[in-house]
Symmetry: none
Subunit: 250 residues, 2 copies
């Protein structure tokens, strides 16, 4: 059994089970554990898999969770409900912007089979939609590793070249007074997308409603539709500012 055959077999097993153990592989393939270990080391160096103690994992299984491991856990069900509702408004042939951030990321699972074009600056979204029916336009510019997104002047200009029917945006906080962001980068990106869009959707789980953070970057005028699981009275203030509310239940 040559290295190539073993590599093939290992990848096959990884594809189905997501992770493998060295002892498992050694007996299943019929070589020593040392050899399996060598195979895994070499394959990991080539980016074919992710090495763990005592075995290996699929690359995709390890890259995705890492990028959003912490944030994505919070209010996951609410975010999914919000994104499911958002996806209902996306129809075949649409060109849409999707913001970076953990909420907008959850939209991916609901649009995978739609024949649409997505313009985004989020690397996890690109990863997620890569082998789907969706055509992806990635915004260029400086890569911000901590946010897993692309930002900067070039990104701005890039967005300015495009026009989309809908934009799905996220913020750090929203009150009747305006929109709050966690960083200037995120703020300017959100604004740039909104400026090039016919209809903007703000995706906010209940924790964002009424919350302020250090940077208030705009009033509510750029928001057309707010999708949220929040049921309190504050939503009336948004409606009075001309925002349509899509209320979802978790």
């Amino acid at each position: 059994m040559t290295f190539q055959k073993r590599a093939h077999k290992i990848l096959e097993l990884l594809e189905t089970s997501g992770e493998v153990e060295i002892r498992q592989l050694a007996t299943k393939i019929g070589v020593s554990e040392v050899t399996v270990r060598r195979d895994l080391t070499s394959m990991a160096a080539n980016g074919l898999l992710y090495r763990t103690h005592g075995g290996a994992m699929k690359i995709s299984d390890v890259i995705k969770p890492v990028s959003f491991a912490n944030k994505a856990e919070v209010n996951l069900k609410a975010k999914d409900a919000i994104c499911k509702r958002a996806a209902e408004d996306i129809v075949e042939g649409d060109v849409i912007f999707i913001d970076c951030g953990s909420t907008a990321f959850r939209l991916c699972q609901f649009i995978k089979d739609k024949k649409i074009k997505v313009i985004t600056n989020s690397l996890p979204i690109v990863n997620e939609l890569q082998h789907s029916a969706v055509t992806i336009n990635l915004i260029g510019g400086e890569v911000d590793a901590s946010r897993q997104a692309v930002h900067g002047t070039m990104a701005h200009e890039h967005i300015g070249r495009y026009q989309a029917a809908k934009a799905f945006l996220g913020v750090d906080g929203i009150t009747a007074e305006g929109l709050y962001a966690g960083s200037e980068y995120e703020a300017s990106n959100t604004l740039a997308m909104a400026a090039q869009t016919g209809c903007t959707y703000m995706l906010c789980d209940a924790s964002k409603i009424g919350k302020t953070s250090y940077l208030k970057f705009n009033d509510l005028s750029i928001v057309n539709i707010l999708i949220t699981d929040y049921k309190g009275p504050e939503v009336n203030k948004f409606e009075s500012k001309g925002i349509s509310i899509y209320s979802v239940t978790v």
Copy 2:
């Protein structure tokens, strides 16, 4: 039994079983193992099969899992030697272009600790350099999932905005007549980068030298330096065209 007849038989056997062994072939065809080995070496050089220890495999079986990742396995050591030499020319503060493709990707490991700016259209490179000392500028445009890269008009314009000291490029084939690419996307990307660069480095392992593919996209005038492990006489022709040769040993 002529070489052509043997080659035909070997391909036939490969087609049905997916893999062959040298001893097997020697008895089945009725020639010595030395001859079979020679046949396989020659056929592998022409891309008809994939050479393994003690035999050969069908190309498609080797490439199946992930096209990019498996390409990277071919001539890995040569590519690493080439990229190591290339990295020696990269100094702190440099702004460099890096092409997409399996060869240029290997450059990442040697530049992780350098304080430089990398402009690239390759998603694997972004992933690899994400949490390193390198500042990354990602070229925007249409995402080509099969090549794991960004292409198109927007990408072109993006490249045109920048100017870099060095560009590290790859091609599918190179002869004294010119450069050959596997697709128009790759060709136009390579050209665009070369146009914005002071000094272009072409990274070519031996299998690329003298090889042509369906699209000849430019003459050699855009190449300043060729780094390769190829030792044959063809390199003199490149030198006479004004290209500096950096020869590496695997």
